[in-house]
Each structure stands twice: as C-alpha cells, then as structure tokens.
Amino acid sequence: MKPAPFAYKKARAIEEAVALLGEQDARLLAGGQSLIATLNMRLSAPSLLIDINGIGGLDGIALKGGMVEIGALVRHAQAERSDAIAKSAPLLARALPHIGHPAIRNRGTLGGSIAFADPAAELPACLLALDGEVEATGPKGKRTIKAEDFFKGLFETALAPQEILTAIRLPAAGKDTRVGFAELARRHGDYAIVGLAASAEADGKGLKDVRLAYFGVGATAVRTKKEESALAKGDIDGAVVALDLDPPDDVQASGAVKKHLAGVLLRRVAKQLMEPA
C-alpha cells in the first residue's frame, strides 16, 4: 500500500511547525512509527507532512526542580539507555522495553507516543500513574497540561489543533518512590491485551499516594481510584474485587477476559510496589 500524495516540509523551529499546522490539513512527523503506517494504509491522507525531527532543543533529558523533563523528540531507545531515566523515572525504564521492537524504538519518540495516545500504549499510562504533565506549544506560546486532563478519548488529547507537544515532565523518583509495571501481550513487543503502570510512595511498611493506570482497557488509559485506596490500605484482595473496569471486546480478547487479566496484573504489580524501585 502506498500513501496518497502529500507535500513535505522540514520545520526548522517550533514556531514554523505551529504556523504550518494552521495552514492546511497537515500532520506532524516525529518518529513516524504510527503515522507512516497509517499513511501507507491510506487510513489518513493529509496534504502536508511537517517533519519536526530537525528542531533543536527537543531531545534533552534533564532534572529540573524535582522534575524529570524529557524533550518530546527523545527516542524510546535513547530513553532506554539513559542513566537519568533509570535513576529518576524508573517506571519509564520498566515500560520502555515493552514498546515494539528495537527498530521501532530507535525512531519512535516519547512525545509522539503521548500525543498519539493509543489506548494500548505504555507511556500514556505511565504519565497518568506518575501524575506527570505535558508541555504544549501553540500559536499563543507554551502551556502545561496535567496528565489527568490530557487524555480525552480514543486517540484524542487536550492538544488544540495547532498545538505541538514539546516536553513531558514527571516527578523525579526519590528514595521512597515505588513503581510497578506489568503487561500481558501474546507476543513480545505486541500491543498489550491489558497493562498496568503504577507508582506509590513507601509509607513505613505500607504505601501512600498509590496511583494505578491501566492501558488496553478502553478508549484511553485509566486511573482506577477505588483500587488505589484499597491498595494503600494493604488490601490486595479488596482491590481486585473493587476493580472498576469495563473494557470493551476487541479482536484479541473479550472485555471479560481483559477484566480478569487486569485483576491478575494488579496482584503482580502490588508485589512490585512493595519493593524499592
């Protein structure tokens, strides 16, 4: 399958990309690992592709004021090999090897993954579980969008039509940070049938600030707040029983199967949360 014809422009600065987004039916090209597949299958036929890979300053990983700031163009592979991510964003470090395969991770970007918001993807769930935030740059400048406000619907985010996701910010892990990650996929690297990204803070022998974000269970990654409080109380069985998910069926699994698997993942991740990150 060959894409429908489109024009191509390599943007030199973010302002240029923002302006071009407003001019015509355009899509942003970052990693391209999702976009080019949809173009090849003619599921999408924009008239213009705006390549933002050449815009400087968007591929850094830095610690700033207790936050890890990750530029939108940081590649998954780059993040996988980053000591800063391993140390300060251990949840991401656990999630990244599950994203596709090495050739995909060499091109795919963290910003692209978050902005694309595939409901079966790992990183949106990690962002939710860490209560992170997204920096968006538009015609009126930059703004910050909190994770819980970012994912609106199926492949739909709070980004305005002319906004570009330029950075992701996560609270840097501390000595009491606990993380857990598990996903179930039929084959290594496949989209998960269901997955769970979780974070918490150690609180004596227990946990506080538990955040659970499931993916593969609906139109977006979701926090399951009832389970979070049950887990914080140490009540794993209660958390599983209270599992507030009603996933729809898809080609890989029925909603009932996904819900059951979500419960299994909860037990496994709960164990991980009891160990230091």
Binding site: K2, P5, A7, I36, P102
Partner: protein, 166 residues
Amino acid sequence: MTDTALDISLTINGERVSERVDARTTLVDFLRDGLSLTGSHVGCEHGVCGVCTVRVNGDIVRGCLMLAVQCDGATVETIEGLSDTGEIADLQAAFEQRNALQCGYCTPGILVAAQDLLKRAKENERVPSRNEIREHLSGNYCRCTGYQAIVDAVEAVAQARAGETK
C-alpha cells in the same frame, strides 16, 4: 513553500547519492526502486514483519516506516553494504552453515538486526543469552525456519566474537 517531490543527498553504503524523490516514497521503496538495492525487502508496509530493516545513522530502523526525504544528509546502510564491507561475514557464514535461512526473504532484515545486537553486546562486553537473542529478533518474522537455527547461528557468532577479545 512545500513540495511533493524533493532533492535529497545522502550516503548509501558509502556511496554519495543525490536524487529527486516523491515525498511519499518510503526509504525502502527508494532503495529498491530508485537505487535497485533490492536486498532490503518489503513484507507488510506497517512495520511489523521486519524484512525492511536497514541501518540509518548507525541505528536499525524499519525502512517502510521512514520516508526517503527524511534521510537527506543521512548515512544509510543496507544488507549489500554490510555484506560487501565484510562486517557480517562471520554471521553470514554461520547462517549458511546452520541453514539459518530457507527462502531468504527475511534474512537481510534478520542479519541487520542480529548485527545490531552483537555490536551492542560486544560494546558492553556481554554475550547475549538465547532468550535475549530471541527477544531482540522478536520483531523479525520468519515463516520458514521456526527461528531455532537463527538463534543457534547468532549465539555461535556471539560466543566466537567474545572469544576474540581474550
């Protein structure tokens, strides 16, 4: 000004190439149709099967999920280049000896991906386990071999290369 066809200059297997390409032409189609480098193959055009795997600026990528125009100024290496420089001679010999290829269609992609694993492992002074080899190649579809001979071949080469540092 935006164009549907652009001029690009890049290095392919050490050779400087300048061509005009349609914006919509993928890297692998440019290599195969534009430059007759048919060693890289097309299998799915949605990034899943891995037979289009090539190296861009030293990293393995899916040739079907990059546009040729994105490679302006880049260094691209295909199976022909990796083969002619001798970089993967030991891998090729191991594959031939162990019949780690049957129809050969997935083989260039697998060789490029395997070489990536072995290079990184050597840099980290490690010999990858069979499970690690299987995981690294988990994005390369082979319908003929059932994978075992491929894993055997890559493992043997990994051990041989590690032996050389001693």
